[in-house]
Structure formats: structure tokens, C-alpha cells
């Protein structure tokens, strides 16, 4: 999975910024990248914010994608810039304390 690995504090700032970009325009809060805690490996304790091209090209409304918002570059800069996107193993997001084995 491609995205940004960052601190919980920065992740919260980014998610707040995504929400504000919608609500400040009078829209409902209808889309976010989300952020997942990294539960194992070298980055344990940090957060993963997905930022694949597919995600960044999500159709939002009126033909716009997240890239079309002025706030997009500001939030990416907050995360270190587009060149800082990382590959993260999905397994690192699994929290073994929470994983529940049944499939019911």
C-alpha cells in the first residue's frame, strides 16, 4: 500500500484539514483518506495515511478529485511532500490484540 507514514499528531492534523476543506465550502463531510495505526515493524506506533494514485484520483463531486483542491498540496507538504510517499505492508496494520478469528 502506498501512502505516508507519520506521527499520530500529524495524521490528526491532516484528517482535520481534509474535513475542513469540505465543510468550509458548505459541503457535508463525505470523504477522507483515513489513517490506520501501524501495529508492528519498524514503524510501530506511527500512522499510515493511504495516498495511492487511485485514492488521489477518487471522483468527489462535479468532476473534481482530491488533487484539485488547493489544500491538497498544503497537506502533502505537511507530510513531507509527494516524494515521501512510502510502501507499507498491509500486515503491519493488523493489531493482534484486536484480531478476532471467527468469521461470523
Amino acid at each position: 500500500m502506498i501512502g505516508f507514514i507519520t506521527t499520530p499528531e500529524t495524521a490528526a492534523l491532516v484528517l482535520d484539514g481534509i474535513r475542513a476543506a469540505q465543510e468550509s465550502r458548505g459541503h457535508d463531510y463525505y470523504w477522507t483518506t483515513g489513517a490506520e495505526p501501524i501495529n508492528s515493524g519498524a514503524n510501530k506506533g506511527l500512522m499510515f495515511i493511504p495516498a495511492s494514485d487511485e485514492l488521489l484520483n477518487t471522483p468527489l463531486r462535479n468532476g473534481l478529485t482530491p488533487r484539485d483542491f488547493p489544500e491538497f498540496d498544503q497537506l502533502v507538504d505537511l507530510l513531507g511532500g509527494r516524494g515521501e510517499r512510502d510502501e507499507n505492508e498491509p500486515d503491519s496494520l493488523i493489531n493482534l490484540d484486536e484480531e478476532i478469528g471467527d468469521d461470523n
Binding site: M1, H27, D28, Y29, Y30, W31, T32, T33, G34, E36, F48, P50, S52, E54, L55, T58, P59, L60, R61, N62, G63, P90, L93, I94, N95, E98, E99, I100, D103, N104
Partner: protein, 278 residues
């Protein structure tokens, strides 16, 4: 009284003046999002509202999402409350359905069951499944933050138990389940009322299947925001890879109302999208 609270003034006079006011308000919101709604689609939306009000099930719905519009904002809109939920993660927005990626995707309804007016013993869950996926990630239903089930579950088993769908609200002891399914494609309504035993209804093109459980579940509902496309948010193996086109929450329906409601959703989806229910 229109629940959406949006008057006809936002809609062009002469275009939709004969529509149900809630239908007109929803269509206006879609068009504001950039959706080009055809005349046939407007008629289908209008029929959904008018049929639901005539048949008595519309007033039981607290949330109904119809994520078919190939964009996040219109697909996040609730047809009943006028609010929006929030898509999170890499969700595929398609013409006719949305698809989870099985890892980091979910849809947050943005309100707790109590805020929606859904108590224990008087609840429904609704899901429309276009395509399923027999992987570990498909064991999903209605999720809550952080780890427990919320309102209850309308889940689809994977692996060795593939073919079984469950409705629980929220205790596992009093569930209704449909077994032996070749796939999960269809419209599901799980419903429970204090006087009407819980049941799980599945509608496909060939008709409906209903399984009941008369046990009363007095377990308190977990009062956290219900989510779709995921069962437990803290567990990435509990996110779906399936493709879905309808989500609903509300108060319990009678079996006859669930039959009517599922048929109205089928008609709405097939007319609006041009797709055919399995």
C-alpha cells in the same frame, strides 16, 4: 412532512414539480453534486419514495444510502435524513456500486444508533450486494469504532463457512442466519422488533428467502457509529472486498414490509443503473 427539510424552491419549476418533495430534494442534491439525473432515473427515485410511504416502510428507515453515482459526495448522501456519511480509504466508485479494497476502506454513517432513534429490540440493517468475494476480507458487516460490533451485524461468512449470512442485534445467541448460499449477491434485510421475532430476508431476482429466530435479544446496542464495508475497524481482516449498492439502518419492519422494501430497492437500483440483480 418531508424529512429532508429542503423545499421545492431549490428545484426548477416545471421539471420536477410533480415529484414527491423528498424525491425532489434528493434529486436537487445529486444535481448539485454534478450528477446528470435522467428522466427515467428521476421517476425511479420518485417511485421509491412514494411506494415506501404508501407501504409504510419508509417511515421506519433512519438512514438509507444508495452509493451508485460514481462519485463520493452523491453516493454518501442519505435519502432519508438529508445527512451524509463519510467514505474512508481507497474505495472504488463505480456506476452502480462501490467496492472496498479489503484493507483500509469503510463508510462511517456519522451518527450513533441512539442519535438515529434506533433502540435495542427495534432495529433493521440492510445491505445490497452486487459482487462478493470469497476471501478472508469478506467477513464484514456493520462495524463500530474501535473493535466491537455496533448496531449488530449483517455478515457474510468466508472460507469453510462460505454460504452463510448472519443477522444479529447485537448478541450472537439470537441471530437469524441463511445457510447454503452459492453466493451472497442480493438484497438483505435483517429486522427485529419487540413483538416481531428477528428475521433475515434475502431477495434475488428469483424471489425471497426468509429465516427467522424467535429469541428476543435484550442485549444493549453498542452506541457507536455504525460503519459499512467493514465489520470491526481495528481489524484489517474485517474489511470487505465486495461491491455494494445499498445500505440502510432503521427501526424494525414486519416481514411483509421487508418484502416490499427489498422489492422497491431492487426496482430502484435496476432502473437507475441498468444493472440486474443476481
Amino acid at each position: 412532512m418531508p424529512k429532508l427539510g429542503l423545499g421545492l424552491g431549490v428545484v426548477g419549476v416545471g421539471t420536477v414539480s410533480s415529484l414527491d418533495p423528498d424525491a425532489a430534494a434528493y434529486i436537487a442534491l445529486l444535481e448539485g453534486d454534478g450528477v446528470s439525473v435522467s428522466g427515467a432515473q428521476k421517476s425511479a427515485i420518485d417511485a421509491f419514495y412514494t411506494t415506501g410511504k404508501d407501504e409504510g416502510w419508509y417511515s421506519k428507515l433512519k438512514r438509507f444510502y444508495f452509493p451508485v453515482w460514481n462519485a463520493a459526495a452523491p453516493s454518501a448522501r442519505c435519502l432519508v435524513s438529508g445527512t451524509s456519511g463519510t467514505f474512508s480509504g481507497t474505495i472504488g466508485h463505480n456506476s452502480g456500486f462501490v467496492t472496498g479494497n479489503g484493507t483500509n476502506t469503510h463508510f462511517d454513517t456519522g451518527a450513533t444508533p441512539s442519535a438515529m432513534g434506533i433502540p435495542t429490540g427495534d432495529a433493521l440493517l440492510l445491505r445490497g450486494i452486487h459482487l462478493d468475494n470469497n476471501s478472508v476480507h469478506d467477513a464484514c458487516g456493520v462495524a463500530a469504532t474501535p473493535s466491537t460490533q455496533s448496531l449488530g451485524m449483517l455478515n457474510f461468512a468466508v472460507g469453510g463457512n462460505f454460504g452463510t449470512s448472519y443477522f444479529r442485534q447485537p448478541s450472537s445467541a439470537a441471530g437469524a442466519q441463511i445457510t447454503g448460499q452459492a453466493n451472497y449477491r442480493g438484497i438483505y434485510i435483517g429486522s427485529c422488533t419487540a413483538t416481531n421475532s428477528r428475521f433475515l430476508l434475502k431477495r434475488t431476482t428469483s424471489g425471497t428467502t426468509v429465516v427467522s429466530n424467535s429469541a428476543t435479544d435484550s442485549t444493549a446496542i453498542y452506541d457507536q457509529n455504525p460503519h459499512f464495508l467493514a465489520r470491526r475497524l481495528a481489524t484489517v481482516s474485517n474489511r470487505t472486498k465486495g461491491s455494494e449498492f445499498a445500505w440502510g439502518l432503521g427501526n424494525g419492519l414486519t416481514q411483509a414490509q421487508a418484502e416490499d422494501c427489498s422489492l422497491a430497492i431492487k426496482t430502484l437500483w435496476e432502473t437507475v443503473t441498468g444493472l440486474t440483480l443476481a
